[in-house]
């Protein structure tokens, strides 16, 4: 007998509004339909009414967990059009901000996984460890979410000896905790039982649908922008691409944990080898007419910005695409064939961000 079950738009098992129509046969999902558009805010239109400096503030508010990547990619597009050179120091500082954000974002998603599989003590443990990253953000950038690190032609913050030491000490505190938790997440019976073989995304489907980020890397597809098309200081600080072959929730979880470890290494490497130089090269740059496309690797995957200018103070057209926009369609492949109770676990495994998908 088949049953239809609606999940959403506002549902206890979902963090953000989305509407699933699930066709069940017994306990198994036969088909899933998704309806979205509950948090469409028209930010793209708004961006075209604001000038280049105001858009720094606006783009940072598109999404909370990858808030740093939006202004980061946006400033790269403006700099490309205006031909602005960014100092090496600023590029390193951009990477530091980005990787700190990545660690915090991944750990949030991983703690949600623990929550959804019913392992609540592990969830609190992960969130508590994540607080170390939140402390860093609050102490260095003055905010726990929107760091406001980027500006046109450079960054808004600088690191001195004392701050570098502070970050290093905090990472020293975090790393053993990460190691301990990785061991639990990778080997614990409950986590393994709820994640291995659940929500499988085959490699061919990942390629066909243009899936990005840890979701793609969990299926063995490497399209890490930091590696494929390096930007800022990623050509010097080489990130290691984490690939897993399983394509299930477990593999995606493994990719995220391994990336957390690698990001800790990248932050350490960046702040201990910080080059000398100015943090901002031009205070009030002129933005000529032109168009540019830039990309960066947000915690959830590839983020792309298209910017077209006409020589005025405002963009003629600005368009961006966040990773969840692509990863969404993967759910149609992942969910059918699984148990109803696994839907929220699978949904969480693409690390969805609905408010930035719908803008």
């Amino acid at each position: 007998m088949s049953t239809k079950i609606p999940v959403g738009p506002f549902h206890i098992g979902l963090e953000e509004p989305i509407y699933f129509k699930i066709d069940l046969e017994g306990e198994t999902v036969k088909e899933v339909d998704m309806i979205n558009g509950f948090v469409h805010r028209g930010i793209e239109y708004l961006a075209m009414q604001k000038n280049f400096f105001q858009n720094l503030i606006l783009t940072e508010r598109v999404c909370s967990l990858c808030s740093n990547n939006h202004p980061f990619t946006y400033v790269m597009a403006v700099e490309k059009i205006a031909g602005i050179k960014v100092s090496k120091r600023a590029n390193y500082l951009r990477v530091v901000a980005d990787e700190v954000k990545r660690i915090a974002s991944h750990m949030f998603n991983l703690s949600m996984l623990a929550h959804l599989v019913g392992f609540h003590s592990l969830m609190t443990q992960t969130m508590e460890a994540r607080e170390i990253m939140q402390d860093i953000k609050e102490s260095i950038w003055g905010n726990r979410m929107d760091m406001s690190a980027n500006t046109l032609s450079g960054v808004k913050y600088d690191l001195d000896e004392q701050r570098i030491e502070y970050i290093l000490n905090k990472l020293e505190e975090l790393e053993p905790q990460v190691d301990e938790m990785m061991d639990i997440y990778f080997n614990d019976k409950i986590v393994r039982a709820r994640t291995i073989g659940v929500g499988v995304l085959p490699k061919e489907d990942a390629l066909r649908l243009g899936i990005t980020g840890p979701t793609a890397r969990g299926s063995g597809v490497n399209n890490d922008v930091r590696n494929k098309a390096p930007y800022a200081a990623y050509d010097e600080l080489k990130p290691i691409v984490m690939l897993e072959e399983g394509g299930d929730v477990y593999s995606r979880m493994r990719v995220r944990w391994r990336e957390v470890k690698d990001s800790i290494r990248l932050v350490r490497e960046a702040i201990t080898n910080l080059p000398e130089g100015e943090i901002v090269t031009q205070r009030r740059p002129h933005i000529p007419a032109g168009e540019a496309v830039t990309r960066s690797e947000a915690p959830r995957g590839e983020l792309i910005y298209y910017l077209k200018t006409d020589g005025s103070q405002k963009p003629e057209r600005m368009r961006w695409r966040v990773p969840t926009y692509m990863n969404w369609e993967a759910l149609r492949v992942m969910i059918p064939g699984n148990k109803l109770t696994d839907v929220s676990v699978i949904f969480n495994s693409i690390d969805p961000c609905i408010s930035c998908t719908e803008r």
Binding site: G37, H40, L209, G210, V225, E291, V293, R319, R321, E329
Partner: protein, 173 residues
């Protein structure tokens, strides 16, 4: 890293498209990343381009639509082959363009989005349903002025309560 790939892609474009039907330029940034920019004069050629991208195992990243200064609808396709971006510009004056979703599945959402935002129709799209906007909102809404209270169907203002209030009185006997 991209030299050979770039050359191969350019040769394919040259072979499959008419000589005068497109313009091509390339851009290399300071990190050595290559981007190819193609401007199509015949919008039908987008299907050829999509096929080339598919043959190289590429994907559609996104399509940016906008209304140009001369009121033409312009679409910029951002396509990716193993980290190299191919940006293809096509003009859809009659607000119609062939859908590339049957060739590149990754273009599915973005074609639906420019349909609802700009009213440009992707011809023979497998699933041309609305993506984000409700059916009650007209197509091509991005070009129009729409008050927030109307967009939210009065959900955040006194309008909603007034409506509920009036309906409630109607139902009471």
């Amino acid at each position: 890293m991209y030299e050979t790939l770039k050359r191969k892609v350019k040769t394919e474009i040259k072979e499959r498209l008419d000589k005068d039907s497109y313009q091509i330029k390339e851009e290399i940034d300071e990190k050595g990343n290559v981007q190819i920019w193609v401007k199509l004069f015949n919008k039908k050629d987008i299907l050829h381009i999509a096929q080339i991208i598919k043959d190289f195992g590429g994907r559609c990243v996104i399509i940016s639509a906008y209304k140009s200064k001369d009121d033409d609808y312009v679409l910029v396709y951002h396509l990716d082959i193993d980290g190299m971006l191919v940006n293809v510009e096509a003009t859809a004056t009659d607000k119609k363009i062939d859908s590339i979703t049957p060739i590149l599945n990754s273009a599915n959402w973005t074609e639906r989005e420019f349909k609802e935002m700009y009213g440009i129709e992707p011809i023979s799209h497998p699933n041309p349903a609305r993506l984000f906007l409700d059916d009650s909102i007209a197509e091509g809404i991005l070009a129009e002025y729409m008050p927030l209270s109307q967009a939210m169907n009065g959900a955040a203002t006194c309008c909603m309560w007034e409506r509920i209030e009036s309906e409630r009185n109607e139902n009471e006997y």
